[in-house]
């Protein structure tokens, strides 16, 4: 069972219908969204790339939801990378259940249907820190549902717990097991430790995410990350790209690496930041993420501030578009005379 089944043309046919209906749904139920569509001269889309998109940062500035207040079941917040701004995402019961179900179906593509013993490359103490909990904690907690007999790779002080890892591998190392963590934590605290202590991770399936910036600073490319992990036996490695504003949707790296794939209920469009038209294969641009999961808030078509490129369509491990994330677009800065004397502030 897989959620990576539809060739691009078939997928677009399904998505256009569902997302057009979602656009109408949000237009009727979210007044700010309806005002945005009206002001931009909205007309129904005839292709996925024509669907009206929202800049993802709007969720930091505005309260956007398509459900009444008394149906709000969960409010998710992102960790703000820029100042105090955080995104607020409103879920009702149905949307919350659906995002968990679809996330499960996506990861099961590479994990199989059974829960596997699991290493969390993080510290349990992090769950107590309310500040970092929102983003990192939610990621770890969400993913921990797909494993069992969890072991934390880091102790409460953030040091690697080699004994716990050894114990885990003695007990479960002969059968498939799941490893989850943020990319730089996996690099710093799992790869290095496995190498130094001769830990055998060859039955592990690694799912990892998080920005590459910290690794790029150490001159570690995605290819090198993969090659070096293979050196400690870890060959089943899946990076993913996702964001709180489209919770439940992840774009997952295929078995052979090198590209991210879109599940059947999601897609990406790469936009030329000059003309805003869809970029052809091979041309980098801004990543627009598309998903049918956001039913309780108008986050079904979002323009991110990440740069990416589509490498190919229907020509990889799985059908549909395959793409890479190239990094963040630097924020715009005004050179104005209201530019403050920040050093003293």
């Amino acid at each position: 069972m897989s959620v990576f089944t539809l060739p691009q043309a078939a997928k677009e046919e399904v998505l256009l219908k569902e997302l057009s209906a979602l656009t109408e749904h949000h237009r009727e139920n979210c007044e700010p969204y309806s005002r945005i569509l009206a002001a931009s001269g909205y007309e129904p889309a005839t292709s996925v790339a024509q669907l009206p998109w929202l800049p993802v940062r709007l969720f930091k500035n505005l309260e956007l939801k398509s459900i009444p207040d008394d149906e709000v079941y969960k409010v998710l917040t992102s960790s703000g990378t820029t100042g105090a701004e955080v995104s607020k995402i409103y879920l009702d019961k149905a949307a919350a259940a659906e995002q968990t179900r679809k996330l499960g179906a996506t990861v099961q593509t590479v994990l199989g249907p059974k829960r596997l013993p699991m290493i969390l490359v993080d510290t349990k103490a992090m769950l107590k820190d309310r500040k970092s909990f929102s983003a990192r904690g939610a990621g770890v907690l969400g993913m921990s549902n797909f494993g069992r007999n969890h072991v934390w790779a880091l102790d409460n002080e953030g040091h690697v717990d080699v004994e716990a890892l050894r114990g885990f591998l003695e007990q479960y190392g002969d059968e498939p097991f799941l490893i989850f963590g943020f990319t730089y934590l996996v690099w710093l605290h799992l790869y290095e430790v496995a190498k130094d202590n001769g830990l055998d991770l060859s039955n592990g399936i690694l799912i990892h995410s998080g920005g590459w910036k910290k690794l790029v600073d150490q001159a570690v490319s995605p290819e090198e990350f993969r090659n070096r992990l293979a050196g400690v036996g870890l060959t089943k490695v899946h990076n993913y790209y996702g964001m709180i504003e489209q919770i439940g949707t992840i774009f997952l790296e295929g078995p052979n690496g090198g590209s991210l794939y879109c599940p059947d209920f999601a897609d990406v469009v790469i936009r030329d930041p000059e003309t805003w038209a869809e970029q052809p294969v091979g041309k980098p641009g801004l990543i627009e993420v598309i998903s049918t999961l956001p039913t309780s808030y108008p986050g079904h078509v979002l323009l991110t501030e990440d740069l990416g490129v589509v490498h190919g369509v229907d020509d990889g491990d799985w059908p549909g578009k395959r793409f890479s994330v190239l990094g963040r677009l630097p924020r715009a800065e005004a050179r104005g005379c209201s530019d403050t004397y920040r050093e003293a502030a």
Partner: protein
């Protein structure tokens, strides 16, 4: 860590025996030579804004300013010690602020931001070149320094100053004001400002194509030079008249072609910034329509005049609003409003507008193309007078 960019190194707050006078010939000589350097074709080509600065510092202009400092009723003297904190990224403000104060005979310390850009470096190079042949009193009394997160330096200079000049917006003023001044000293502050543009539909329709082009070119310079973020850059455009859609359409069309000709480029981040802000304004009901004909121009239709944003919303982002007459704008203007640039109005209309404002808002009413032209009367202050003090003598 203090880095000396201009003037002699040493204790900045030590008492000095040097005395300059209002319009001191040694200062005039120095500034005139600086003007010549800035007006050199190679410099002006690379940094057009330095050309305007050079123009401001020509001898004739300097003598005019000194003349303006004189008083019939009193003897005029330098104010004393002046500590300048200019904005980080409008590269020329620090020179205007300092030069006027030096011309008034003050001892000056100017804090140059660590984030200053290349035009600032060009100016500092020119300043030091001129200094080599200048009277040594200049180096002893005029200092420009850069220092990082060091409240001690700010505190010491604040205690030293008779006048502290704070540019850079509300938060800069608030941060610097945590450091007390001597009881006799005072602040000259330049807080957050908003500026506007107004276009008379009748005046536009009456103007020939060349005049329209010239107006839009001036507006383009006013708006794009500092990414529309200088305090005097126009933000909202008020279309004054009736059925102004045709005027707006032609104005935007000319704006697009002019921005293209002048090669003003808007990067992807700025284009996204403008989308975020325009979509946000649409979501909250401030605008009824938004158009993105190119990355360089974002045009929006404001629903009401009071919805005009007072914060920066990106380079080349223009909310438009139609009003029947300039007088309709009067209730919407306030103390934060600085420059009001205009095209197509009669002198009587402008004067009537200024009188109706009654000083409650708007400091400068200037034609398109002059929004960024610095004057010694700025933000409602007569700077030459602020930099001097008066002694009365009854015989």
């Amino acid at each position: 860590m203090i880095q000396y960019r201009f003037g002699v190194e040493g204790d900045l707050t030590a008492p000095s025996d040097d005395r300059l006078t209002v319009g001191d010939p040694r200062v005039i000589d120095f500034l005139s030579k600086l003007a010549r350097k800035l007006l050199a074709p190679a410099v002006a080509r690379r940094h057009p804004e330095l050309g305007s600065l050079g123009f401001f510092l020509r001898p004739a202009e300097l003598h005019r300013t000194v003349e303006h400092m004189r008083s019939r009723d009193a003897l005029v003297f330098p104010r004393g010690n002046v500590f300048h904190i200019p904005p980080a990224n409008v590269d020329t403000i620090f020179v205007y602020s300092w030069a006027l104060s030096a011309l008034a005979g003050n001892h000056n310390v100017v804090r140059i931001s660590e984030r200053s850009a290349t035009a600032a470096d060009t100016i500092l190079t020119a300043l030091n070149e001129v200094l080599a042949d200048a009277d040594p009193v200049i180096a002893r009394t005029q200092r420009m320094i850069t220092y990082g997160r060091d409240d001690k330096v700010t505190a010491a200079l604040s205690q030293w100053a008779d006048l502290r000049v704070i540019w850079g917006g509300d938060s800069a003023v608030e941060a610097i004001r945590k450091h007390p001044l001597r009881p006799s000293a005072r602040d000259l502050t330049f807080p957050d400002r908003t500026s506007w543009a107004a276009l008379s539909a009748d005046g536009w329709r009456a103007a020939d194509p060349a005049k329209r082009r010239a107006a839009v070119l001036g507006f383009t310079n006013d708006s794009y030079w500092f990414d529309q973020a200088a305090c005097s850059s126009p933000r909202t455009v008020f279309l004054v008249g009736e059925n102004t859609d045709d005027v707006r359409a032609e104005f935007v069309e000319l704006l697009l072609s002019m921005v293209g000709e002048r090669g003003w480029e808007i990067d992807a981040a700025m284009a996204v910034e403008k989308r975020v802000n325009a979509y946000g304004m649409a979501a909250t009901g401030a605008i009824s329509a938004m158009e993105f004909p190119a990355n360089s121009v974002t045009a929006m239709s404001l629903i009401t005049v009071p919805d005009a944003p007072r914060r920066w919303i990106g380079a080349g982002a223009f909310p438009f609003a139609e009003v029947g007459s300039l007088l309709e704008l009067v209730p919407a203007m306030n103390r934060q409003d600085q420059t009001f640039s205009h095209f197509g109005f009669t002198s009587e209309q402008l004067r009537e507008f200024a009188l109706a404002l009654g000083g409650r808002g708007v400091d400068r009413i200037v034609p398109f193309g002059q929004a960024l032209t610095f004057g010694s009367i700025w933000d409602g202050y007569d700077l030459p007078r602020e930099f001097t003090r008066l002694t009365t003598l009854v015989e």
